[in-house]
Amino acid sequence: MIVYFTVIMLFGTYFGRYNRSTKDFFFGGRRFAWWLIAFSIVATGVGSHSFVKYSAKGFEHGISSTMTYINDWFFVPFFMFGWLPIIVYTKIRSIPEYFEKRFSPSARFLATILLLFYMIGYIGIGFLTLGKAAMPMLPESFSLFGSVYPITLMGVIIIIAVITGIYITFGGQTAVIFTDLLQGFILLFAGLLLFFFGLDYLGGFGVFWDILPTEWKMPLARFNEPSDFNFVGIFWQDGIAGSIGFLFMNMGLVMRFMATKSVNEGRKAAAFNILFMLPISAIVVGNAGWVGKAISVIQPDVVPPNTSPDQIFVVVANIVSHPGVFGFIMAALTAALMSTVDTLINATAAIYINDVHRPVKKFIKAKLLSEKETDKRELSAARYSSIAITMLGVLSVLAFKSFPTVYEAHGYFHSTLTPPLVVAIFLGVFWRRFTPAAVISTFVGGVALMILGAFYPSVLIAPFDHGIQMDPSHPYSYIRAFYNLFVCMAIALMVTFTTSHQKSFIERLKAGDNHRQIMTIITTISVLIFISMLVVLNLTSAGWVIPVYMILVFVMSYIVSLSVTYYVKYDEKNNTEGLTAWSLTRAKEMFKGSKLNEREGEKAYVNWKLKEGEDDTVNLSRKALETMAADVGDLVYICDTRGYLGGLKSCHSVIGEPHEEDGIIYINEEHKQTGLFVEGRKLYAEKEM
């Protein structure tokens, strides 16, 4: 494992040389082929839904542990033909930036807060899982220079955080993509190898299948019981909130898709990942639990039925594999967990730079620097922020330690933190009428109703529970996602459908003399309602609290919508153009900066020569332009012809004036350095649009 960590750290640090700007650090220069991204996503996805977690559920409930991996397709049309093209064509660097463009700076501010909570919490969950997975493999203490030191969960987490922090800080997104690619292959191989060994140990697939009770073979869990693992709760928590969160607001994953060379490549990566890699991953992460269950039935002395579910992965791996293979499988397990954490740290650093660092610099009117100097400083800030985020992630572990299992901690976390952002992004992308007033009211009012639900689950969440029994110690860990989505959506719809009323109210108000004072009072009332709710909920649980605060929260949401309508300048045409699924052609035109050329052409294979000057165009022959069906001014992607590099040596540019030297492309020094093109190596040029 030590060798493994050293290799991975060096591997990640090596790819640091591909970072020439923050664009490279965060997005890998938008250059990669779909297959490379599809495989690197495996490590990210599998890491977050770890071997430990799903093996535990596989051991407790059987093959239904796979269901969270096979329920993501419902939102793929929305992703492929809505969110993905929008994030690429609008050139946003973070999800909150979309909120500013689509709504307002205040919407961006609130989205940043919610997203940072989500991302840092996610990192914390990752570290907690890492620590829990590593603990059974380590001794209780170690001695150094004669002193004995106990090995604690937090100590293990801190050491792993330091290792993760080093390569992400110096490597950036390209490092993440390549380490994840390597780790993805390793963990798929290791997981399938373990299944193979397990089946061999049991005497073949037929024996394994016959041993498992029917209940354990079902691919979907029991409808509404038990409360800690049931179909309907997990459908709303993972299939709905989790899937939208995974595809739309998991900045780590979104950035990975943004690192593909084009939108179409991003679609291919997403489709391949969800159709093929996720079902395979479901087997990879859960099979140790199924095998453990089968062994516990026929050899209860080898795997006692009361084995701790969280330890079943390690127990089974130890029983069915040889010592060397066991070490390899453990390294793969750790690899999977690290992959998730490194992706999230990189993504959270991107949010910090784009949504905190830059706006703050702008606000304090920092002195104007050249673009290159600014970029250099931001790259350095990105590296420092990665370190800080890693530390915050470690601290956030403390908030999740109290949950009985990582699975429940993760489920509760998803159900609670994703709904407001999920509703806001979803309606923002697909509904032109959705306004800044509606999105901010959704954040404020939605969160308020969610807090009420958290305090009174037996009254407010119970109507949504589909018959699930409430566990008083952790009430409605999963199905609360349904309630939370419902209340956020209710506020969003209420405010959007009353937009004309808000506008006419504000117009009438502005016609008077004292509109500023009235608005200040109204805004203060909304703040007071929110604060009083927090205070009252902590002081009393009297019967009047629920009806009174349900009404007050709706009133507050409406007041917030009036304040936003008053203070925020919003032009529906400008703020939706190119920013919703209804205007994607316009988004592409804005991305290109001129009219689209959508004639279908082919790749042109060329040798490269350097040209003088810094003119940011490349020059191809007339014949090559004909092959590519391209015109001067079109966007072009230039790439080394070695397909196995997956686009690592490539860059984007604009087509300049053609020449007559067939088979030659003229590029400048910047193109050469960005693409790391090798002397004498052939390239291909492909029209982007």
């Binding site: 093959i63 096979i70 329920n71 397709w73 419902f74 939102f75 793929v76 049309p77 929305f78 492929m80 033909f81 809505g82 093209p85 299948w209 029917t214 209940e215 073979k217 079902m218 691919p219 979907l220 869990a221 029991r222 409808f223 179909f231 309907v232 459908f235 299939g239 709905i240 179409n264 679609r267 489709a271 969800i274 159709l275 079902p279 697909f430 919703t580 699924a581 209804w582 994607l584 052609t585 959508e598 279908e600």
Partner: protein, 70 residues
């Protein structure tokens, strides 16, 4: 043998409620013009999307039948 409530009902719920969401995604993508059926690549993606839905229906139906009767 698990009852209908714990065997086929989750399947129906998954592809019924999920199917409604999937269908609304397809309708919005086509109506908004984001999925433009005039373009060859988009026609290809339209088929992939529909294939994907029934591919997962098949996987879950197959696994449920295998669990119950095999």
């Amino acid at each position: 043998m698990p009852s209908f409530f714990n065997s086929w009902l989750p399947f129906i719920y998954l592809y019924g409620v999920g199917g409604l969401l999937f269908l609304s995604g397809m309708v919005i993508a086509r109506k908004s013009g984001a999925l433009n059926m005039q373009r060859k690549t988009h026609r290809y993606w339209y088929k992939v999307l529909i294939f994907g839905y029934f591919y997962f229906v098949f996987i879950h139906a197959f696994l449920t039948i295998a669990a119950l009767y095999w």
